[in-house]
């Protein structure tokens, strides 16, 4: 039998840390052939990136250690090579692209320099490297490729940076490309373009692609086969269609079930007075108009989802509504008063009613405060809410409400997982009994299964307490499940506003249609149909 391009056999990797040995991956095996795309699907902590790091020799040893197994490239064991031979493999035979191209490109050198370095490291001459870099920049469709070579990474957009990374990875025509969450940091339409580019390049070069992702949509879009990982173990593998249609392992079933975008859509009540009425809100940064007059109403217990790509002004809207920044025009009426021009005294009272949950709970919770301190701080600032004697009891209730246990009160944020931390942030927001919570990408950083739990929690709070939400998100399926109204924003303007059924089932504006078309579906057949439809309209 001919050798596979890549074969990982019984690989185990341990990390020896101060608190003990972590078995990051345990006895996993998979293989990949030329021209094939294999996806490694898993959530954070599943060890999905560890095996690829081992392939690239990127694991720091110590603390890491290859406990057992072998990785064969065309039948040759990478672990048995000399370090010089091993280095020669990187870049030439196997190349890698990463999740966050901004931090993975050296900020102080031009991208052209970094491209040429890849080529020169493996023996190309200076002028040859320059010509080849230019050819690749043209191939990945970077605008103005000659000028682009002399630019620095921060001068590109996120999607362009990922194109630079791809060009650099493909510089030496590798046999194997490893893509570690290559589109996670990108907007949906850019994600679709980058994935398409990867597929085209694979067809041209016949390379094998190993794609590591947490996103079922990405798997269904690009992969032929998939392996599912949980807690360092490989729990299931097979063709994408088989695994999606007929998952065997409980974890795979749970993952597929948790994928958003399949539930019933909300039908908002039509009656009732708005609690918040925003008219023509504007915001400038210098000469740049970040918000060009945004208007909408929100009733109690209602959710408006604000969707749009980066730079659309959705976070700016959140910040001026919470007066974290000052609006430069327009009004926002809250209980008969204009929020934008409210006096500091009124604003202080208003803070009780308006709360925010941020994207990254690791950063939005003070690491030196216990959970109890974090929650009760709200009552220190607003002592009229609750007498001090009742703080502990109420904090326990809040923790219970968000699905944590009262025993957690004495712990610090770092002792919790990402999803638990976001629950703490929600409990903190609830402590003030708010009428409106602004969630700025509040679940984007969480794993799919955790995401589903947090959304369920928010839904419960909405029903039980009548809290209204402004839900800022870029993930359309999530919005579909949770929102009453959807506001689509682009470049500081509202492109489309309507009930969730209107926007999802019958989008009026081309931009909304493009967003929906670019959104990936976890079902490989649905996704293939979407892709064909998209390509048909494009051509």
């Amino acid at each position: 039998m001919a050798d596979h391009l890549l074969e990982v056999r019984n690989l185990s990797v341990d990390f020896h840390t101060a608190t003990g040995t972590v078995h990051a991956v345990r006895n996993i095996s998979y293989h990949l052939d030329r021209g094939e795309t294999l996806a490694i699907l898993g959530e954070s902590g599943s060890g999905k990136s560890v095996s690829s790091s081992a392939i690239m020799n990127l694991i720091d040893m110590p603390p890491g250690k290859i406990a057992s197994g072998e990785i064969l490239l065309d039948g040759k064991d990478l672990f048995k090579m000399s370090s010089e031979a091993r280095r020669e493999v990187n870049g030439r035979r196997i190349a890698m692209i990463f999740q966050d191209p901004l931090s993975h490109l050296n900020p102080v050198y031009t991208v052209g320099w970094q491209m040429r370095e890849a080529l020169k490291t493996h023996g190309k001459g200076n002028s040859e490297a320059q010509a080849e870099a230019l050819r690749l920049f043209k191939r990945v469709a970077l605008p103005e490729p000659e000028k682009a070579l002399d630019k620095y990474p921060h001068e590109f957009s996120g999607g362009q940076r990922q194109r630079v990374m791809i060009a650099m990875a493909l510089a030496l025509k590798p046999d194997l490309l490893i893509a570690d969450e290559p589109t996670t940091a990108l907007d949906v339409t850019v994600q679709a373009e980058v994935l398409l580019l990867l597929k085209e390049l694979q067809r041209e070069t016949g390379m094998g692609v190993l794609i590591i992702t947490h996103d079922l949509g990405v798997v269904s879009e690009v992969a032929d086969r998939v392996v599912v990982m949980e807690k360092g173990q490989l729990v299931e593998s097979g063709t994408v269609r088989d695994v999606y249609r007929n998952p065997q392992h409980a974890y795979t079933k749970k993952l597929i079930a948790a994928a958003p975008g399949k539930g019933d859509m909300h039908e908002p009540a039509t009656s009732g007075e708005p609690i918040l009425s925003v008219k023509n809100a504007k915001k400038f940064y210098g000469g740049f108009e970040a918000l060009k007059g945004v208007s909408f109403d929100l009733k109690a217990g209602e959710t408006v989802a604000v969707v749009g790509e980066s730079g659309s002004g959705k976070s700016t809207l959140a910040r001026i509504l919470l007066r974290l920044e000052e609006a430069d025009g327009g009004t926002a009426e809250w209980k008969g008063k204009d929020l934008f021009t409210m006096s500091p005294g009124d604003l202080f009272k208003l803070r009780r009613d308006l709360q925010m949950v941020f994207q990254d709970p690791t950063q939005s919770l003070n690491p030196r405060m216990t959970v109890y301190q974090l929650i009760s701080e709200a009552w220190v600032i607003h002592p009229e809410i609750l007498p001090k004697a009742k703080w502990r009891v109420r904090a326990a209730e809040l923790l219970d409400q968000v699905g944590l246990s009262p025993e957690h009160m004495g712990r610090y944020p770092h002792q919790f997982s990402g999803g638990q931390r976001q629950r703490i942030a929600i409990a903190r927001a609830l402590a003030l009994e708010p009428k409106l919570i602004v969630c700025d990408e509040a679940v984007s950083a969480l794993d799919v299964s955790v995401q589903a739990q947090v959304i369920k929690l928010l839904d419960k709070l909405r029903k039980e307490m009548g809290i209204a939400f402004i839900f800022i998100a870029h993930d359309l399926p999530l919005v579909r499940d949770f929102a009453d109204y959807v506001m689509v924003m682009q470049k500081g303007e509202v492109v489309e506003f309507g009930t969730v059924t209107q926007v999802f089932d019958n989008p009026q504006k081309p931009y909304t249609q493009a967003l929906l078309a670019a959104s990936l579906d976890p079902d490989p057949d649905v996704q293939a149909a979407n892709r064909n439809a998209r390509l048909a309209t494009a051509s």
Binding site: M56, N57, L58, R87, E88, V89, N90, G91, R92, A95, M96, F98, D100, S103, H104, L105, N106, P107, V108, Y109, E117, A118, T121, H122, Y152, H154, M165, M168
Partner: protein
């Protein structure tokens, strides 16, 4: 960039004026030059005459006004002791200090970057632990003690080097070596810390995935990124040398600006003290400007 330099120059001018005011009045608090210059038995008339000659009989504010007027026209007054323009005296001494500082800081920078980078590359290894120990000792040793020990060992017992003064290249060795130790110790620690975070950054991972060799990864990819905090500390350390390493210059009888300043203060040679302060302050302003330029040069994201 030009407007940035203008803004910086204006801010520095204000601090120079503040410095001038403070030093002028504070130095007048330290005593009367007339009683110090003239013999103890000098009569009151002689003292009055001396004061009149040097304008010291005028009210302080008038003296200050005259002084500022002169400074603006580039005249920093005469040295009371040396009967030469104070600026000439200071520039002569400052040249010595400048050379000492430039040579020392160049050596320190090169050595600290190499040692700190290599220590960071293999954190916890033998070289890292050894260099950490050496640099910690270097950063903590009192320099006057080290200077004296160095003189005792190398000049007196071994007779390899001259004890003090100037005149030959060998006169430079001990002062440079002693001045080297503390900034070296401090900068090695900063380079090491900064390099550890640079080497664990994502772009280093990319370089490894490209197959780049270890040497370029450390000294090309990581180092340039790690240099920003290092430059700040280098500037800080260089400033203290430019100010005149008072203690070391005194111990080694080195005719630099630090020694000049101490001597002039003791002798109430006000014009020299003021000129020395102005010159060193100006030099430090220039150096800080160079450091700001270096930031922009090293990091394309910084633009003024």
């Amino acid at each position: 960039m030009l407007s940035f330099i203008r803004k910086r120059a204006f801010a520095s001018l204000i601090s120079l004026i503040g410095l001038l005011v403070m030093v002028f009045f504070l130095s007048r608090l330290t005593g009367d030059p007339a009683s110090l210059f003239l013999p103890v038995e000098a009569s009151a008339e002689m003292k009055a005459e001396f004061r009149a000659l040097h304008g010291l009989d005028q009210p302080l504010l008038v003296q200050f006004g005259q002084y500022v007027g002169n400074v603006v026209t580039g005249d920093l007054g005469e040295s009371l002791r040396k009967a030469r323009p104070a600026l000439d005296v200071v520039l002569e001494a400052f040249t010595w200090t400048l050379w000492l500082a430039v040579i020392t800081m160049t050596l320190v920078t090169v050595c600290a970057i190499v040692v700190g980078s290599l220590a960071a590359f293999r954190t916890g290894g033998f070289f890292d632990r050894f260099s950490s120990m050496v640099s910690l000792i270097g950063a903590s040793v009192p320099d006057f003690w080290l200077a004296i020990v160095a003189i005792v060992v190398f000049a007196i017992q071994l007779s390899w080097l001259p004890t003090s003064g100037t005149g030959s290249l060998s006169h430079w060795i001990l002062p440079i070596c002693v001045l080297f130790v503390r900034p070296f110790g401090i900068i090695v620690q900063v380079v090491r810390g900064s390099m550890i975070s640079a080497l664990s950054s994502a772009y280093v991972k990319t370089a490894r995935a490209k197959g780049v060799k270890s040497g370029p990864i450390i000294f090309v990819h990581a180092l340039r990124n790690a240099m920003l905090p290092v430059i700040t500390v280098i500037g800080d350390q260089a400033a203290s040398l430019l100010n005149g390493a008072v203690v070391i210059e005194t111990i080694f009888g080195f005719p630099g600006v630090g020694k000049l300043m101490i001597d002039s203060i003791l002798q109430r040679d006000f014009n020299v003290v003021l000129a020395a302060i102005l010159v060193t302050a100006f030099a430090i302003f220039l150096m800080n400007l160079v450091i700001d330029m270096a930031y922009a040069l090293l990091d394309p994201r910084i633009r003024y």
